[in-house]
Every structure is written in C-alpha cells, then in structure tokens.
C-alpha cells in the first residue's frame, strides 16, 4: 500500500475539524417571521392633513385643525392554528405629523406560521401605567407622561377650533387605567406569516369626536382629568380603528 502523503492527511484533518465545529455551532433558526402593523391616519375618508382648518366641528360651529395626534398601542397578540404569540414589552407610541400620516410597528420575531386574529389595547395596562420604568416606548420624561403620580396619557389630540375670527385651543388628553380599550380583529381567513408581511389599520380621527357620542367641540374644548368626559372619549376612540382587508 502506497504511503499517504503527509500534506494530504493535514488537509483531511483540517476539513474534519471545520466540519465538527460547523456541526457544533450550527442550529436551525426558529421560525422568525415579521409582521408590520401600519397605521394610517385619515379624516373623512382621506389622508389626515395637519395644521390646516379643514375639518368641521361635528356638532356645532367652526372648523378645526390638528396639531398633534398620537396614542399608545400595547399588548399586541396574534392567534393562529399553531398557537398564540404575545409580543414581549409591547408598548408602542403611534404618532402622526405633518411629515407623515402613517406610523408602523414591527413585530420582528413572530413564532407563528399564520394567524387568524390580532388584538391590542389602546392605552396601557395598570402595572405599566403606574410605573416609571422605561419599557417599550414608555418614557416618563416624554410628552405622553402626565407625572408619575397620574401615569400616562393614552390618546393625545391637540389642535384649534376657528369660529369666525376667534381661534380656540382644543386639548384632549385621555388616560387613566379604566380607559384602556382592548380591541380584537379577526381575519376572514387564516393569514400566512412566512417572511415579512403587513397588516394595515385605518385610524379615523373624526371618530374621536363623532361615533358613540357626537361632540360639539365649541362646548367641550378640552378633556383631561374629568372622569366622565374621559370615558366618553374612550368609547369614541375604541371605534377609531378598522382593519383594511385586501
């Protein structure tokens, strides 16, 4: 038998070693699907426009403009044939502005192959609302914080109402744990979650003032700490969202 050349043995050894190392460190990736939730702010069926007096007071005189509109979405959950996925630390600030009437949330590690229902809360659960620990987009030094004794604002709308020559401020800051609203959206068919997918929501800002209750903004120019008023707006904002089927 002819002797094996030493170089050859060396190469063989190196290849074997590499194979073992590769084997030891390589693990199959768990299903790592991405879902993007896209929120589009609208009014009267069109893209919301900031800073211009374009919108009618739903039940009274004057036109209003929007200068600030944002809210917290939390505890996003997906359910499908292979189980339920809870996003960890699920606190997201959804904000719109003159630059963009869209805002999106990325779920980067969805451990499901498909889903047929999706749920989230508008607002924040009691434990997180009464804490100053920064989690997700919660930040006690942000505009959404009232102060640490009160908690966070869930939905913020600021603007002004023009009646003839007079311009009046509109300030709606709604919070308090009792005003968290849990929304559930079911899809007509099981939706695939392979790779990156998207789901779109319309947010109709007019519904904040014109849905369960119809408001006259000239009479109710601000809502902050009055519990009754805050509840009225919470009922309205729970109707502000709709899922877009395509």
């Amino acid at each position: 038998m002819p002797a094996v050349k030493p170089q050859f043995t060396n190469i063989l050894l190196v290849v074997l070693l590499a194979l073992t190392a590769w084997h030891a460190f390589w693990k199959p990736d768990p299903p790592n699907n991405q879902l993007r939730l896209v929120f589009t702010a609208e009014a009267n069926g069109k893209d919301l426009v900031f800073d211009q007096f374009l919108y009618e007071n739903p039940s009274g005189p004057g036109q209003f403009r929007v200068q600030n509109f944002r809210f917290y979405i939390s505890n996003i959950q997906l359910s499908g044939e292979d189980g339920t996925y809870f996003e960890p630390d699920s606190y997201h600030l959804v904000r719109f502005g003159s630059q963009s009437n869209k805002s999106s949330i990325e779920l980067n590690n969805v451990l499901l192959k498909s889903y047929s229902s999706l749920s989230f809360s508008v607002g924040i659960d009691e434990p997180a609302n009464s804490s100053i620990e920064p989690r997700g987009d919660l930040d006690p030094n942000s505009q959404m914080a009232w102060n640490w004794e009160v908690g966070y604002k869930f939905v913020v709308f600021e603007g002004s109402l023009k009646m003839g020559e007079s311009i009046q401020p509109l300030v709606y800051h709604v919070g308090f744990s009792e005003n968290r609203r849990d929304l559930l959206f079911t899809r007509p068919i099981e939706e695939d979650l392979i790779g990156t997918s998207e789901v779109s929501f319309k947010v109709d800002v007019m519904k904040l003032f014109d849905s369960a209750s119809v408001l006259n903004l000239a009479q109710l120019q601000s809502v902050k700490f009055d519990r009754q008023d805050a509840r009225v707006l919470a009922e309205n904002y729970s109707r502000m969202f709709s899922i877009e089927e395509n």
Partner: protein, 374 residues
Amino acid sequence: MADQRWIAAVAAAVTIGGGAFFTVRALPPDPTPVAGFSAPFVFGRFSVPQDNPLTEEAFALGRRLFYDPVLSGSNDRSCATCHIQRLAFTDGLPKAAGLDAEDLDFSSMSLVNLLWGQERFFWDGRALGLEQQALLPIQNPREMAQDLEGLVSELNGSRQYRRMFRQAYGDVSSENIARALATFMRMLISADSKYDRFLRGEAKLSEQEELGRKLFMAHPDTKASLRGGNCIDCHSQFLTSGFRDGLDGFSNNGLDRDADLPAGLMAVTGNPAHKGFFKVPTLRNIAVTAPYMHDGRLRTLEDVMDHYNDGVVVSDTLSPLILEADNAASPPGSFVGLRLTDNEKAAIIAFLRTLTDETFLSDDRFSNPFEGEK
C-alpha cells in the same frame, strides 16, 4: 541545506518581528472606560455614539480643550468664556458677546445632562449631535473665529496635546477635537440637587416647595378642580428639559406676536408650523442662569412666572397647551395665561430653586484644569 534553514529562520524572524512592530504602531490606543459611570434611574435611557465611548483620557482632553483659549483665532477666549461652571455653564448675559463687539443673536445655553432629553442642539435645533455641535462655535467668525486646520497644527505643536490625543484617540484631528469636547460635555451630569435628593428619598421638600412641585407637574383643569402651572407639558418631570422624541422638545411659549416672531426651528425644518419654536431648555440650576429665554429678555424667575401667568403673547403657532391652560374658569378665549395666585407663583419659584445643584456647580472635575497647573 543547513544554510537554507538558517536563511529561512532569519527571514521568518524578520517578518514576524516587523509585522508585530507595525501592528503595535497601528494599534489603536487603549483608553480607560470611565469607571463607575452611573446616572439616576429616573433620567431614563441614554446613548453614547459607538465611535466615541466615554473614556477617562477623552474626558481629560475634552476638559482641557474646553478651557483652552488656543481654540480661538486670537487665542483669547475659550468655550468657558461663554459657558462658566458657577453659572451652570451659561455666561450671565442676555446675549453672548460676539468678537465684533456686538452681541450674538442668542443667549448662551446651560450645558447639563446633555446625554438626555432633546438630541438636537442650539436654540433652533440646527446641530444634530454634540460632535457636530462642538466644531461650530470654534469656526464661527463671531464666536471663536478659528480655522480648523490652523487649530490642528497649533495643537500638534504642543507635546502635551500630542500625548493626550494619542492616549485618547490617536491623531490630532478636528474629528478628535469634536469627540473630546463632546465627551467632556456628556459627563456634565447634575443629579444632586434637593429635588434629586427628594426623588431618592433623602430629603424632604418644604411645604411651599412641595406645593410648587405639584403645580409644576399638573396641567390645570377647572372642571376637575385641579390647579396647575402646566410646566410639565413641555419641561419633563425629572429632567426638566425638552422631550427627546422627534421634535417634541421644541415649542412656542408665547414670547412674540406673529409680526415679530423669529424663525426658530422653522429655519431648520422649513415648516411654517415651526415658526417661533425654540428648544425647551433644561430648568436644572435655573436659579443661577439668569437672564432667561433665547434672547435673555426676562431678568428674573419672577419675570418668567409673570410671563406664563399673564404675559403670554398669542401667535399662530403658540402652543395650544399654553393657550388652553387657565386656572380660572371663564368663557373660552377671553384670557390667555395661568392666573395663579401670588402664593402659587412663589411656590413654583421655590420649587425651581430646589433644582440648584451645588455639588455640580463646584465639582472639581468640571473646573478649569489650567488653574491647578499654575
């Protein structure tokens, strides 16, 4: 055969030795991370640029540069000319003094807790980070009027600076000057005021200070019988500076009418909805940073409270939160201002005084390093 081996061995030794020599030469310096760096939990998250970690060497270099007049064209003023430690790094003037014997357009700004809050700098937010900011006053012909290339060669002429740059970063360069100054400024942390000690449970506020704190932290709501000064609508509860998110840290707080409204943030964004918006400043050490506002128009904290109470001037971009905040129920639109009582105004001022941090104002680490050398 033996000769060949000998030659190979020498060649190998030369290659290895030479390689090692060049590697060591090219190896980045190994500066010491700032030890025991900690910040109050309530200040929240912060981030330091990856290419400019906080190190002792960068801090020492930045401190020296900050106090060194060599940074100005005629070697007669330093950053500290307009940013004085005893005054929480402001200069006590309504508007900073320009080189041309005329005032600059703006009042000098306090440099404190810059790791938190709004990430844009200057009153109109034109600088996007501290590294970018640091080189602007140096080159500004009305501030320090120094050309950067000239500065780099001046610094290269100093053995001590060459050594300090080598230990912190490597070469003397304008990028490294900016990085060092930014590091020094990031370390200017004030967290030992009476308010901080109160938050840590180590101090009690007086009755008046506590009333002031409550008013500072509340937006008034006559319907819910809640009185407030609404300061927290713009000055965050723990940092007392403007908000970090997006452009949330800019606002129009009612200093001028439309006809005289300066561009402010609009000069940077081009958005007319930002006309007259200015950076919401930190209120830490506010009792020592008079006069107040971007042009230093208000002399005292009493003047500031009078402004928010009944001196607000309406303009199109005035914050709706200021327009709406009122402690007296009245027909909407009939009055703009907080309408607090004299007692309540005094209480808010008493609270603002709890934000003075003597430890910070006299901390040796932030003082002029040249004084120790003389």
